[in-house]
């Protein structure tokens, strides 16, 4: 009952005309930027952060909700029409959706992805609204040692458990942790890793890191291998609408995708890749048209798209209730909160319910706006996709540097941006995952201060980490998650030898 009252209150906040306008601008900008090839939702949020600098926190968070969902939707449009998934979570969509577009069924592919995203986003946001208060009740009992243990779980799952290589994932994470150490230590006021440069005393700016890694790094990477790929934009031919048959084949994958996406997104494991691929393989197994898979099966778009969106809403559960970002996009959302000095977590629910519930309500509204806006505007998005590559990336870089120039127009900050760009390029080239760097930078300092607080309370006794049952359990989970990929890899090798 409390949830309904809180949600109703949130709706009242969200439907104020100014807030509706913010949501609309967010959805529009999010889609417009997200649709550009190579730009995923995380970068969309990072690039659009400066636009919200001058807004009040409420309005800006509502705009974020729109940007978040808009960026996701834009990404799948790109995946379908030019087969360049901006992120690995859109890979399944690109697999079937691009084939559909080539066969002249781009319209229904876009439609099933839009409606599926709406269905999944709505169900998952309802899940978020009901799960969040319950988790908050649980999280208020967390002591600093429990928070520290929780962050260890997030560190491990984000970097080691689900990637291709635990060593490379952990390397990325530790680069992020190192960057998180830069600046003045909050407890003692001493400078770490600042090397006497005054600009470094404030620490590394999350947006500078994210924009450098994602935007500049991506531009460098695409430029370096321009001679390999040729992107081809599929025109949207034929009807935009789904036939009766399309509906019949889509609705079950939407629901199943949601069932995969939301719980996996809500676990502090992050990443929408797993639910999308689970959904893809499930639909492939259950379909009545197995011959169409790989050639443009609508189930293969409907399911993974729903899973992708549901998991995006799922990642908001740990973000809002625990302050724990489990994906690069969630990390950027957290950076958005932090620019107003707001720290998501149980306290925010108690202190600023209007803000949190206004945001959750705006997610519903943003979802609805996307559904209404996107199909009619698909022609506009296609035209954005047709921008020639040189101008597109030149424009992206101008916009990317503009954010930093607007925030801190210093030579040091811009050099850091360029340096992170080179880092992002090298990481792409040598196949190191990028999200763990961002998560490490954001969570590292928080984890350190929680650990130091816990040790100060226990008078320096490290056993406090194991004496709290919550913390002991979480550390156990983190250990299993850390060792699992090594053990499984060993077993995989064993099996491969047996074959």
């Amino acid at each position: 009952m409390d949830t309904f009252a809180a949600l109703a209150h949130g709706m009242a906040v969200a439907v104020q005309p100014m807030n509706l306008l913010y949501a609309l601008i967010g959805v529009f900008l999010g889609t417009a930027v997200g649709v550009l090839p190579g730009i995923g939702p995380a970068l969309t949020v990072a690039l659009l952060l400066p636009v919200t600098y001058k807004l009040d926190p409420g309005g800006s968070l509502i705009m974020f909700a729109g940007i978040y969902y808009g960026g996701m939707y834009g990404g799948s449009t790109t995946a379908i029409l030019i087969n360049t998934p901006g992120e690995s979570a859109s890979m399944a969509t690109a697999l079937e959706g691009n084939k559909m577009a080539k066969a002249g069924r781009g319209g229904p592919a876009l439609a099933t992805s839009a409606i599926g995203s709406f269905v999944a986003g709505t169900i998952a946001t309802i899940g978020l609204a009901f799960l969040a208060p319950w988790l908050v009740d649980f999280a208020v009992r967390f002591g600093p040692e429990d928070y520290f243990a929780l962050m260890c779980v997030a560190f491990v799952t984000v970097s080691a458990t689900f990637g291709d290589s635990p060593v490379r994932g952990l390397t990325s994470l530790f680069i992020g942790l190192t960057l998180g150490l830069v600046g003045i230590d909050k407890l003692t006021g001493q400078a770490r890793l600042a090397f006497g440069i005054p600009e470094l005393l404030d620490g590394v700016e999350v947006t500078t890191l994210a924009v450098g890694l994602f935007a500049v790094g991506e531009a460098l990477y695409v430029a370096s291998r321009r001679h390999h790929t040729e992107e081809k934009l599929e025109p949207v031919r034929g009807s935009l609408w789904m036939t009766k048959e399309d509906w019949k084949r889509s609705w079950k994958p939407w629901l199943r995708g949601t069932m995969f996406g939301f719980p996996i997104g809500a676990l502090p494991a992050g990443g929408a890749e797993i639910p999308t691929f689970l959904s893809y393989s499930t639909e492939k197994r259950l379909t009545k048209h197995p011959e169409e898979f790989g050639k443009g099966a609508i189930e293969g778009v409907a399911g993974p798209e729903a899973a992708n969106n549901a998991s995006a809403a799922g990642t908001l559960v740990p973000l809002l209730t625990l302050g724990l970002p489990t994906s690069a996009t969630a990390a950027m959302m957290l950076a958005g909160f932090q620019q107003y000095g707001l720290n998501p977590g149980p306290l925010l629910f108690a202190e600023r319910p209007d803000l949190v519930w206004g945001l959750i309500a705006s997610l519903f509204i943003a979802n609805l706006m996307l559904l209404v806006l996107n199909l009619p505007l698909v022609g506009l998005w296609v035209r954005l996709l047709a921008i020639p590559q040189p101008w597109l990336y030149a424009g992206i870089l101008v916009f990317a540097t503009m954010g930093t120039i607007a925030a801190k127009p210093s030579v040091v900050e811009l050099s850091m941006l360029a340096g992170f760009g080179v880092l992002g390029f090298l990481m792409r080239r040598f196949d190191f995952p990028i999200a763990p760097v961002v998560v490490g930078l954001i969570l590292g300092p928080i984890a350190e201060s929680q650990l130091r607080r816990a040790l100060a309370i226990s008078l320096g006794d490290p056993m406090t980490l194991l004496q709290s049952p919550i913390s002991a359990t979480l550390l156990g989970i983190a250990l299993v998650a850390l060792l699992a990929p090594f053990v499984l890899k060993g077993m995989g090798r064993f099996k491969a030898n047996e074959d």
Binding site: Y53, K54, T171, W391, A394, A406, A454
Partner: protein, 161 residues
Amino acid sequence: MTSGDPAQPPRHVDRAGLVIAALLAGLAAVLVWDSRGLQSSAMYGMGPEAMPVVVASGLALLAIGNFIDALRGNLPARESADPVPVVLILIGLALLIAIIGFGGGFILATSALFVTTSAAFGRRAVLVDSVIALVMSTLIYLAFDRLLTLSLPAGPLERLL
């Protein structure tokens, strides 16, 4: 999975992987060196020097991990990369930083970046691109400076507006 396939010929040592391992080890050393200058004022628990040492230990372990991967040639296959466009974009970024640093203003700086990036992606029409870049960055400047009241660095061109 081909990594465990005995039929595969033994792979070569990956030199880039060795460099990565060395860089990680170097970073760990920098962390330890930097943390030595910190004073621990905490009565109980951890001081500010503890975390850098923990992170440095992790980096050192990962340097070993990356070293082993490089020796075994376990790195994912890489496609050939063309260094020319990368260098062009980096020159563009350097120009941008220099122009901002010397007070040349937002419009000139971003225009320089736009033209070099566009050239990196294969455009050869430098004059046309320069015009486009100047018009676009002027519009961005006006939109952000006047409408959103974000202060962007002003140079000679911005003062004319």
